[in-house]
């Protein structure tokens, strides 16, 4: 595998992690991370849709008129979501039940539409598939990480096996825990990134030197990218 292809994959896992860096696709992230198994299931489902829709959209990119590209992307994505829904119903009915409406809602997961728009509609089939793999892995890892924290602290188990000796805090598994755990993890991720940038002697770009679109971006404080390099906007 060439250097460039490898970078496309690692980009999705670390530098542009959809959950911790780009902060998109929050709803499924919050809702399904009540356990590791749910997080893993959702991650695999979203990765499948990402890879498949990225490839098809990349193949269609020269045929689709610019004005109607978003509806066409959505139809392609919705088609694959229907496929994964059938597969889950057939092969993993338990998982399908616990993920509930978040399977059909993969259609409106911003990660998938964002990758279609930002990457697949501009790049070749193989690069788009690799981008799908990278982003999907990044999403899956983030979901499993959050799922692990919530399952260990909230239910005292990991993948269903008891692991802790203290009394688990139910609240972490319930709705409030989702918000609080994600908030804390995001804060920690940013603190680590800021420290790493400091150690490399980079420091954050001063506010005036930053490109215009960064005002609302959560990474603006720690980001060193120029306007062209930014993929979040």
């Amino acid at each position: 595998m060439s250097q460039n292809n490898f970078r496309i994959i690692t980009n999705g896992i670390l530098a542009d992690n959809p959950t911790f860096v780009q902060c998109i696709g929050l709803c499924p992230t919050l809702a399904v991370t009540t356990s590791v198994a749910n997080g893993l299931g959702m991650g695999i489902a979203a990765t499948f849709v990402l890879i498949a829709s990225n490839m098809v959209i990349s193949l269609l990119r020269k045929m689709v008129p610019d004005e109607v590209r978003i509806p066409i992307f959505i139809v392609v994505i919705a088609g694959f979501v229907t496929v994964i829904e059938f597969l889950m119903k057939g092969f993993a009915p338990e998982l399908n039940k616990s993920l509930g409406i978040f399977i059909p809602l993969i259609v409106v997961n911003c990660i998938i539409l964002a990758r279609a728009e930002a990457f697949a509609s501009k790049n070749g089939v193989i690069a788009s598939a690799l981008d799908g793999i990278g982003m999907g892995l990044g999403f899956t890892i983030a979901l499993m990480f959050l799922g692990s924290i919530r399952e260990i602290l909230g239910a005292g188990t990991w993948l269903g096996n008891p692991v802790v000796s203290f009394e688990p805090a139910m609240l972490i598994v319930l709705a409030p825990g989702g918000f609080i755990v994600l908030g804390c993890c995001m804060g920690a991720f940013r603190a680590i990134q800021a420290r790493a940038a400091k150690m490399r002697g980079l420091g954050a770009t001063p506010a005036e030197a930053r490109p215009a679109g960064c005002g609302s971006c959560i990474m603006a404080k720690f980001c060193n990218k120029t306007d062209e390099e930014c993929e979040v906007k």
Partner: protein, 195 residues
């Protein structure tokens, strides 16, 4: 459903099963557009409008088109198309008929197509097998719950902005998420009101 049941459904969809704080639908705008009270209310109002209309349209599509043709499995595809078309249509209609309203809601409308609350409520209505009245009541309640939660959140965030003691790494989104968690705990207190 009797009138009492409809009323209970209305209350439970606003408070007990709040669409944002307990069902996790529509979190992107909840985090993205909640830093100013005024824009948050604009977004909330647009969402109320679109969710109620979209629930009506998707209910009709499902019960009068997909069920008779035995194409229920195409619901994801048809719902998202109906919603996207509806949002476009509403945007055009508002622009022509009510420019004042368009000015305040217009910028939020394109964002709503990919708001999972709209599709989410439509799918929930279908899964629960609600009749038309129940579906509309659920849609109205859920979207009012959205308006309530996003307005509260924006009010709190405006106050947080003035606070200088927050560490760098928690400023903005992480702090908003933790705040949402605390609000969610408060909303859990409503669980007992409806059996």
């Amino acid at each position: 459903m009797t009138l009492t049941e409809l009323f209970l459904l209305f209350l439970s969809s606003i408070f007990v099963h709040n669409i944002l704080l307990s069902r996790f639908l529509g979190c992107c705008p909840f985090m993205g557009v909640s830093s100013k009270l005024k824009t948050a209310q604009g977004m909330g109002a647009a969402v109320v409008f679109v969710i109620v209309l979209a629930s009506l349209m998707t209910w009709l599509t499902y019960n009068y088109l997909l069920v008779p043709l035995h194409l229920e499995y195409l619901y994801t595809l048809s719902f998202i198309l109906v919603i996207a078309a509806l949002v476009q249509f509403v945007e055009l209609a508002l622009k022509k008929l009510n420019p004042v309203l368009y000015k305040s809601l217009g910028i939020f409308l394109p964002l709503i197509t990919t708001n999972c609350a709209v599709l989410g409520v439509a799918v929930l209505n279908m899964n629960e097998g609600y009749g038309l009245a129940a579906a509309l009541v659920n849609a109205l309640g859920s979207s009012l719950g959205f308006l309530l939660a996003i307005s509260l959140m924006a009010g709190i965030r405006e106050r947080i902005e003035e606070n200088e003691g927050i560490p760098d790494c928690l400023q903005g989104l992480p702090m908003a998420l933790i705040t949402a968690g605390l609000m969610s705990i408060a909303f859990m207190g409503f669980t007992g009101i409806i059996k």
